[in-house]
């Protein structure tokens, strides 16, 4: 029993011992790990507990509140992160864990943020707007392909076009589609392709990781697609939903094969369409001709065309009708005239002309009388007036004054009222009541 006590250690002591081993190892004082977060738990006191894992393995992690507040993102399960910290043992749980000092999103997460920012910016600029989408021609004659000259994408595109619409010409503009220079190379080839007389361009690559496809999320590629004179079908991978190139392209295909299917019709469909048009054309024209034939038939069978004399007969009858009407009309006029004449002839006045004269004679007589009376009256009035005037004139007549012994002196018919009017030796006339004296002026006073 005593031996047993000597030989066996307590859990606490072994865990404490193990802890010292961790802490003595300098390498574990500062480690850099990359992995995916799982079992993430944000404790109410602000410490973060989670597991970091890769495909095969996992490690517990803790990030204390004072470190966690420095994070520029909210960690969550499934997120790939880069962490810095020390590794030690937690004796109470018998576990070792990483005490995280710093944590940031792994490339993928950062790329995602970049992607969202660029997407928003270009959307605001209107690069994704529907009205900028160019129509894709239905029957292209020449197609440009911008992708790698090797790999599944070009193979899929060419074999799809060959199968569906082999009469279409293709030109490959070989481009890098992944790596740091890929974006610039894609842009260069889009510009080169625009120098050719192409109906449509397919631009893309096969599937890959988001990093592999990243060139298609670059701003310069988006702008080159937007500025392309020739419509572009994007055909990027199939592992993520959409690249920026997909948004800005005139048409988005999920895969290179899909893009080729969108770019060309099938010969068979095309033949069917032509045939359908031919049938419609024939039916329409036959229908039209039948219609015309029907109209011609109807006309041919018409009563009038079959009995041309009826046309003449109809006219004859109409002429008779008109003549009858004309005759009736004239007779009517004459009759009305005769009636009017008869009325005039039989009038009272024509039969008794004096009937007009008598009343007129009486009227004249009465008028004459009235006129005479009026003149008589008027004359009386005038006479009275004249007498009044004569009396007045009598009073004012100079001759009446002369009668009283006064006389009028005139020179050259001017009445002399002032001695200034004449000079000595002037000849003056002196009018008396009876007779006139012609005198010479001797003196003026």
């Amino acid at each position: 029993m005593f031996d047993v006590a000597e030989k066996y250690l307590t859990i606490s002591s072994i865990n404490e011992y193990i802890k010292t081993i961790f802490e003595e190892n300098e390498f574990l004082h500062k480690v850099y790990l990359k992995g995916e977060i799982s079992n993430f738990k944000n404790h109410t006191r602000g410490h973060l507990y989670f597991t970091l894992k890769d495909d095969a393995s996992r490690i517990s992690a803790i990030m204390f509140y004072n470190r966690a507040v420095t994070l520029n993102f909210t960690p969550e399960d499934g997120m790939n992160v880069l962490v810095e910290g020390r590794i030690s043992c937690y004796p109470v749980g018998g576990t070792y864990q990483i005490y995280v000092d710093k944590m940031e999103m792994d490339g993928l997460g950062n790329l995602y943020i970049e992607y969202e920012k660029l997407k928003q910016k270009l959307a605001q600029e209107g690069l994704f707007a529907k009205e900028h989408k160019k129509p894709i021609p239905k029957y292209p004659q020449k197609i440009g392909i911008i992708t790698a000259s090797t790999g599944a994408a070009i193979k899929d595109i060419l074999s799809t076009i060959k199968r569906r619409y082999p009469i279409c010409e293709t030109i490959l503009f070989p481009s890098l589609v992944q790596g740091a220079s890929a974006a610039a190379d894609i842009v260069r080839q889009i510009k080169r392709a625009n120098e050719f007389d192409l109906d449509v361009i397919i631009c893309g690559r096969g599937g890959g990781s988001i990093e592999d496809l990243w060139a298609f999320n670059e701003e310069i590629v988006a702008r080159a697609i937007y500025e392309s004179r020739i419509p572009i079908i994007s055909a990027v991978g199939h592992e993520i939903d959409f690249t920026i190139a997909d948004f800005v392209a005139d048409l988005r295909a999920p895969t290179p094969t899909g893009a080729a299917e969108m770019a060309v019709p099938t010969i068979l469909d095309t033949l069917n369409i032509i045939n359908e048009k031919r049938i419609r054309l024939n039916q329409t024209i036959m229908h039209k001709i039948k219609n015309m034939q029907h109209i011609v038939e109807t006309l041919k069978n018409s009563y009038v065309l079959k009995n041309p004399m009826t046309l003449y007969e109809l006219k004859e009858q109409k002429l008779d009708n008109i003549l009858d009407k004309l005759n009736n009309h004239i007779l009517e006029k004459i009759k009305t005239g005769q009636n009017k004449l008869e009325v005039v002839k039989n009038s009272y006045i024509l039969k008794n002309p004096l009937a007009i004269y008598e009343p007129a004679k009486n009227e004249i007589k009465s008028f004459n009388m009235k006129l005479n009376n009026f003149i008589q009256h008027y004359l009386e009035q005038q006479k009275h007036q004249i007498n009044l005037l004569i009396n007045t004139i009598e009073l004012k007549n100079p001759l009446t004054i002369l009668e009283k012994g006064y006389s009028l002196v005139t020179k050259d018919a001017n009445l002399i009222k002032n001695s200034n009017q004449i000079a000595v030796n002037d000849t003056v006339n002196i009018k008396l009541y009876e007779g006139e004296i012609i005198a010479t002026v001797k003196e003026k006073k």
Partner: protein, 73 residues
């Protein structure tokens, strides 16, 4: 077909003529002219499809030349 007719424009013209004919507002003489024209266009399209041999795939090289391109199997 004075100017260079493309397959697509030929088909569009046929459709246009069809619509005119189907509208019925066209006299017979004109309709027959249009019909003849449309039939010519259809013949053109068919010939274009039938005669077109398989086109060679090309690649634009760095020096700007176009050469035949074959996918590596």
């Amino acid at each position: 077909m004075e100017k260079e007719q493309t397959f697509e424009s030929a088909l569009e013209n046929v459709e246009q003529i069809l619509k005119e004919l189907e509208s019925g507002e066209i006299d017979l003489d004109k309709a027959i002219d249009k019909y003849t024209e449309a039939m010519k266009l259809i013949k053109f399209c068919n010939e274009k499809l039938a005669s077109a041999t398989e086109k060679v795939n090309k690649i634009l090289n760095e020096d700007g030349t176009l050469t035949e391109f074959n996918v590596e199997e």
